[in-house]
Symmetry: C2
C-alpha cells in the first residue's frame, strides 16, 4: 500500500539501480541510490568490476558504485548488487488533510518531520484539480474529505507499535489544526480505510487511459517554490491553450512534482506534446528545477537536459561517458548525445 | 554531546565533503555524502562545475556530485555546497548496556532498530579492554556499570518529545533484558549523566597521549563478523607481539570498528607500525572489510588500498583520475599512485 515505485509489480532490481528509482517512500528511506551497498558492473571493454561491499561505511578510495547508479546503463551493465534492508514496519498511521495554501503545505511538512522525528513515511500532495478529478471520474474512488479545498496531503507514520504511535500521530495532527495549518482531516481507522486513501493517489494510473492524449511530467523543484511553480506553469499553459487542464500531484516531501497536462478535444495526431514540453521545461529552468526527479532522461527528455544542467556539468558527463565507453556501445543515445 | 565527527571543533564543511566524513550519528543521518544536495567544484583545468542542486531528487543525467565527495581533493576542489538539514532533536534518551557476547551486540542492534523505528541515533560498542582502560586510567571518567563484562554498548534515541519517547526507550531496554540480550544497563537520568556516559567513549581522544606510541585503525567489516574479526586480530597480533594490547571500540551500528594497538615498552624509534599494519590489513582482507571506514586513504593507507579493492576497482579509479586530472596536479600522490 503506497510502497515503492509505481512499477512495483513489474520492475527489477537492476533497472531500479540503473535508473535510481524513487517512489512514495523516498522521504523515509531515500532513493534507490541509498539502498545500494555494493554492486557489480560490466564495463564497455568487458571488464567485470566487482564492488560487492557489504558495509555501511567504506572510504577506501573512490566510491565507484555511484558511476553506475542512475546512469541508465550508459557506463556499465549492472549484474549483481548488495542492498541495505530496513526492518519492516508493523504499524502504520494514515491521514488525509485538506489545506488552504501551499505555504501551509510546507509548514505541515516541517511540522510533521519534527513531530514524528524520522518516522514520516509518505507526504503526497494533491492539488484541488487532481482531487476533484479522481473523486468524481475514477470508478471506485471515494472522497474521504469534501472536494474544493486547494490542497490535499496524504501522509503516514510507519512505526513499530500502533499503541505508542497513534497518540503521537494524532497529536501531530491536532497541533497542526490548532495552528491553523490544516482545515480538515480524516484519519484512517483501519487498514482498509488507509487503502482507500491511497486509492486517491494511485488513481493516477488511470490518467493515460481516461485522459488521452496527455503529457506527463516528473520534475523537481526546491520544496518552498513548488506552489508558485504550479501557478506559473498553469498561467503559461493557459496563455497558449486556454482549455488546457494541468493536473498537479506528487511526492512534494521529496521536492518531486508530477504534472499531467490534458487538452480537451485534442487527438493523438494534433496533440502538441513538444510545445507543451517547451513551456513546461522553460518554467522548470526559470525555477532552477530538474527536468527529471525520478524517471530519468532516456531518449525522450534528452532535448531538455540542458534546462537543468550547466554546460560544465554536461561536459563532465560527456567526459565520463567517453572515458568509460569510448566506442559508445552501452545504451547509445540515452541521456545525452556525444557529438 | 556525541554529535558529529571527532574533529567537530576544528573541521570544515569542504573537508568533511572531500573526505566523506562520518562520526557518531551516521546510523541516524548517514555519512557526509548523504548531507550534500549540491556542490561546486573546480576541475584541474580550471573549469568551475556548479552543481548547486537544492532538490532531494534529481535524475537529470549523471550525479556528478558523487565524483567529488570522498575523493580527497584528487578530482576537484570543492568551493561551495548545498547541505540537507534535519530538525534538531529536542529530547535524547541515553543508556549504557553490558552484554555477554558479540552475537548479543548484533541482536541488540537489530532489536533497537526495530523498536525505535528510525530514531536509534547512536550505537557505539566498547570491548571490555576499552572499558577497563578508560574507567581506570583516564582521569575524570567514571564507570556507570562495573567493569568485566565482555561488551558495553552506548546507545541513544533522539526524538521530539521526552514524555512520549521515554517509555518507548525503556520498553526497548526491558524487552532486551527479558530476552537475555543485555546483562545490565544504566539509563541516564539527566543531560549531565548522559554526558558522563559519552565521556567513556570520547576518552579515546586521550589514547595517543596516554599510550604512545600506538597505531590507530579505522576499518569496516560486515556487522555480523566484527566480533570474530576482533578475536582473530588479537590472536594474530599476540602471536607476533605477546604483550600487544589491541583495544577495540567503534561505530558498530555502521559496520565501523576502531582499533588502537599499544605495545608496552616500545618507543617511537622501535615501534613496528608497518608490521602491525600488515597484520591488521591482512585480517581485514580475509574478512572482506575495508581498510578505511570513515577516515579515508590519504598517503598513509595507500599501500593497503589493494586489501579492500579489486584490481578492476583500482583500475577504474585510476581511469577517473587520469580523465579528470591528466597532469596529476590535484592532491597528487593521495589515495593511490598513478604509475
Amino acid at each position: 500500500m503506497g510502497g515503492g515505485p509505481g512499477a512495483r509489480g513489474s520492475c527489477q532490481i537492476g533497472g531500479n539501480i540503473a535508473t535510481n528509482a524513487g517512489g512514495n517512500r523516498v522521504i523515509r528511506y531515500g532513493m534507490m541510490r541509498d539502498q545500494v551497498l555494493g554492486l557489480e558492473a560490466v564495463l564497455a571493454d568487458g571488464t567485470v568490476v566487482s564492488s560487492l561491499n557489504k558495509m555501511q561505511k567504506n572510504n577506501a578510495g573512490y566510491d565507484v558504485r555511484q558511476l553506475f547508479i542512475g546512469s541508465e546503463g550508459t557506463l556499465g551493465v549492472i549484474t549483481r548488487a548488495v542492498l541495505r534492508l530496513a526492518p519492516l514496519p508493523c504499524a502504520t498511521q494514515t491521514a488525509l488533510c485538506a489545506l488552504d495554501t501551499y505555504d501551509d503545505v510546507v509548514r505541515l511538512l516541517r511540522h510533521a518531520q519534527r513531530k514524528l522525528s524520522g518516522r514520516l513515511s509518505a507526504f503526497e500532495v494533491m492539488w484541488a484539480d487532481f482531487y476533484g478529478l479522481v473523486t468524481t471520474r475514477v470508478p471506485g474512488v471515494r472522497a474521504p474529505l469534501r472536494a474544493g479545498h486547494p490542497f490535499y496531503v496524504l501522509l503516514d507514520l510507519q512505526g513499530n507499535d500502533g499503541a505508542q504511535d497513534t497518540p503521537v500521530f494524532e497529536g501531530m495532527l491536532e497541533s497542526a489544526m490548532e495552528a491553523g495549518l490544516i482545515q480538515d482531516a480524516a484519519v484512517a481507522s483501519s487498514h482498509k480505510e488507509a487503502q482507500s486513501f491511497w486509492q486517491l493517489r494511485d488513481a493516477v494510473a488511470e490518467f493515460p487511459v481516461m485522459w488521452s492524449p496527455n503529457a506527463a511530467y516528473d520534475v523537481s523543484l526546491p520544496i518552498g517554490r513548488i506552489g508558485e511553480f504550479a501557478e506559473t506553469l498553469r498561467a503559461r499553459l493557459l496563455a497558449v491553450w486556454p482549455h488546457a487542464e494541468p493536473v498537479n500531484f506528487g511526492h512534494v516531501g521529496d521536492s518531486n512534482l508530477h504534472v499531467s497536462v490534458y487538452l480537451p478535444g485534442a487527438t493523438d495526431q494534433d496533440f502538441p506534446e513538444h510545445e507543451i514540453s517547451d513551456v513546461m521545461y522553460g518554467v522548470v529552468q526559470e525555477f532552477r528545477g530538474s527536468v527529471s526527479a525520478e524517471h530519468g532522461i532516456g531518449f525522450h527528455k534528452k532535448p531538455y537536459l540542458h534546462c537543468s544542467r550547466t554546460p560544465e556539468e554536461l561536459a563532465l558527463m560527456r567526459l565520463l561517458k567517453r572515458s568509460l565507453d569510448p566506442h559508445n556501445i552501452l545504451s547509445p543515445g540515452r541521456v545525452f548525445d556525444l557529438a
